[in-house]
């Protein structure tokens, strides 16, 4: 039971922290043009296993990719979408 509570608390913490981590990554990119290793590792931990990206070489690849995604993410967020436009996702049965 204690173990489950701990797991649940960790999950809850991740859910709360995740958007904050993204905002931190975006702010770092805005200020310096890159995402720090600490933030990239925190994002990795929040999404699950670190896998191969705990190695410095691969972590640098991830930091570069995060910078690319933040550029896209800024453009997407800045695009004015009328409120009645629904996402193009489609459940067919």
């Amino acid at each position: 039971m204690n173990s489950s509570r701990r797991k649940f608390a960790a999950l809850l913490g991740t859910a709360v922290a995740y958007p904050t981590l993204w905002e931190r990554a975006a702010a770092e990119y805005e200020q310096t043009g890159e995402v720090t290793s600490d933030t990239a590792l925190a994002l990795l931990d929040a999404q699950g296993e670190r896998g191969i990206f705990s190695e410095p070489k691969h972590l640098d690849e991830l930091r570069a990719a995060l910078a690319r995604k933040i550029r896209d993410h800024k453009i997407i967020r800045a695009f004015p979408v009328p409120e009645d436009v629904q996402p193009l996702i489609y459940f067919k049965r």
Binding site: I52, F53, H58, R68, R71, V81, V85, P87, I89
Partner: protein
Amino acid sequence: MSEDLCYQTIGELSRQIAAKKLSPIELTKAYIERAQTIDEKLNVVITLTAEHALARAAEAEREIRSGKLRSRLHGIPYGVKDLFDTKGIKTTWGSILFKNRVPDRDATCVAKLNNAGAVLVAKLTMSEFAGGSTRSNLVPFPHNPWKLDRSTSGSSSGSGSATAAGLVCFSLGTETGGSILGPSGSNGVSGMRPTYGRVSRFGCMTLAWSLDKIGPLARTAVDVGMILETIAGPDPKDHTSGTAPFRFRPDPGKIAGTKIGVVRHEFDLANATNRATFEKALDVLKQAGFVLENVTLPVRPYAEVYNLISNTEGGTFFKPYFNDKRIEGMYDAARRADWLAASMLPASDYLTAQRIRAIITAESDELVSKYAALVAPTNASGAGLIQPAGNPNPTGGGRGGGGGTDRGPAAALTRIGNLAGLPGISIPCGFDNDGMPLGLQIVARAWNEQTVLDVAMAFQKETDFHKKRPAFRA
């Protein structure tokens, strides 16, 4: 003789097979021998299915002799990009991670071709996991038969090059962001991206669920229509497959007065020589009776929306290989990191991208509905030099077939066609100063493949670019 045979169209071969003047076994042997002789220079075949093909050809010959002609594809040899499952035959997805993967089922479109009597002779080279470049750590770089130091473009690299080199009569490729039209343009063949949902993806590797399409590459628009008719149709195993029937009509019908929208900005991106070639292609359409009007595409974040959606979906599909670290064997490190980074984006960003895509789709539907079709260069220039090793995707953008660096950034019309799921074809329309093929892309409303083919057939009636062969010899 053998080379002439390998460059005939489906229609030409089919007539001889039906009249029992051409043996499917002899035809299959001709393609196999050509592949065995030439492929060491082209590197476009991952698995030559010689034994399987000869058995299928013998079966076709028996059936045809006994009066059972299954279809116009009966006894015709073909190849598929190595991401279509083929029962008992290695299917690698272009990756060393899956070099020994042998599926126990056929992809739906392969099953349909088999039922039509077509003969699978080769599983063809592709870039690793259908990335936009031509690279893989499984096989050496593929080469363009028009010039061996030139890129085939990707990701359906083998499908484009093998069809152009006469190693197969036709092939299947897939397109997420430009991977059929790009190689078709670069290798000088006729290749179609059908409407999203026209062809079942069951048994085909996933790159991005909401973007992946399957289509044919062949010598002519007529051949493309015949193949599409065979592989199209609903499939309960792929819930995105549409129910609209497709019956190919190999006659373009009435042309006079039919309006075509010319995406002028895309023509202006070409250099002076190429622009002159593309203008001549427009003149051909005018002379055929089409009425041309310039159109302007709205300025929208096409590349960003495409990248976010394709990377998020690709990252989600390949997530298990990140978790168990197998992903370390992936060749394209930047693309791997892009997938992971995209899968970390908040879900709201993916949904916002899909809302912008809804706007792009509505706008493009409205624009294309004013015309029979829109036209633009497939690529502004011919295939470039093969990039050095260790440089899989130097620009770091436009992955998933959208902007493979071997063919430059995808044209805006290619982006729109893929985001909106519109049918399009690339047909040969001339050559650049280096003798590399140039392609004209034709895009129409969803489910209007026949219109796309009508324009392409009208163009090919007036020109012979589709009949040109690379000077490459065994």
